[in-house]
């Protein structure tokens, strides 16, 4: 089961993932990200604090946007991952390609430096 919630805070769009992302529902994550970007998001944060599991299908969705993000200067970060999920990002070295921060309060200040 995967539930997606969208929140806007200041200049940032937050997409909260609740539940588990696998090959049966990763397309929903893809659609949500696409929608948010089409609506002109400049900084997308993924709230992973209620994400219990993510397989390669979900990781692949994030990876497929990384080039676009850097070409279009769109900020992107993930926060709130639990230990198990966070380790999965590390296995592939995705923690070096995606900005992963511990919590929302850190994430919300990203890119705001003068």
């Amino acid at each position: 089961m995967l539930q997606l919630e969208r929140i806007k805070e200041g200049n940032k769009d937050i997409l909260r993932l609740i539940g588990e992302v696998d090959a049966s529902n990763s397309v929903l994550l893809d659609q949500s990200m696409q929608e948010i970007l089409q609506q002109g998001a400049t900084f997308l944060l993924i709230d992973g604090s209620q994400l219990g599991y993510i397989s390669s299908a979900g990781l692949g969705v994030f990876m497929s946007y990384l080039d676009d993000f850097s070409e279009q200067g769109i900020g992107f970060a993930i926060f709130g991952l639990n230990e198990q999920v966070s380790e999965v990002f590390k296995i592939l070295g995705l923690d070096r390609l995606i900005q992963i921060v511990p919590d929302k309060s850190t994430a919300i200040t990203l890119g705001n430096e003068p």
Binding site: D22, D30, S56, G60, G93
Partner: protein
Amino acid sequence: MSHKLKLSCCTAALVELRSFLQLSLKAYGFSEVDRHQLILAVEEVCANLIIHSHACNPKELIYLEVKELKKKLTIEITDKGDAFNLLEYEVPDLKKVIEEKRKGGIGILLVKKIMDEIEFESKNGKNTCRLIKKFPSAFEP
């Protein structure tokens, strides 16, 4: 002792696979992080089979057995049909996957990083993939 599961070839069955593994892996002394990764590795192999070898046909089945073999954890995944030999599968470069905006291809990379050994054999139309992991050092099978 072994745990067995018959899995229907549809991606909706993956959640059932995870709860089966959650239970059957409990007995072996793995940490929560290790169990999570083992579940992920098995799911990646099964998702691959479901989508690529069985075209998500829910009438077709994959058979799983979790057991102890030669003092190691062995998860045996059996199916019939087109063989997918993950030992021969060339793992893609992460940078390339990103450049090509591919949404797949990294699952098998995860499996190879998580498992200690992978065996594959195909005989008389039956394919067997064995994912093997050493028990934690404190665990006595």
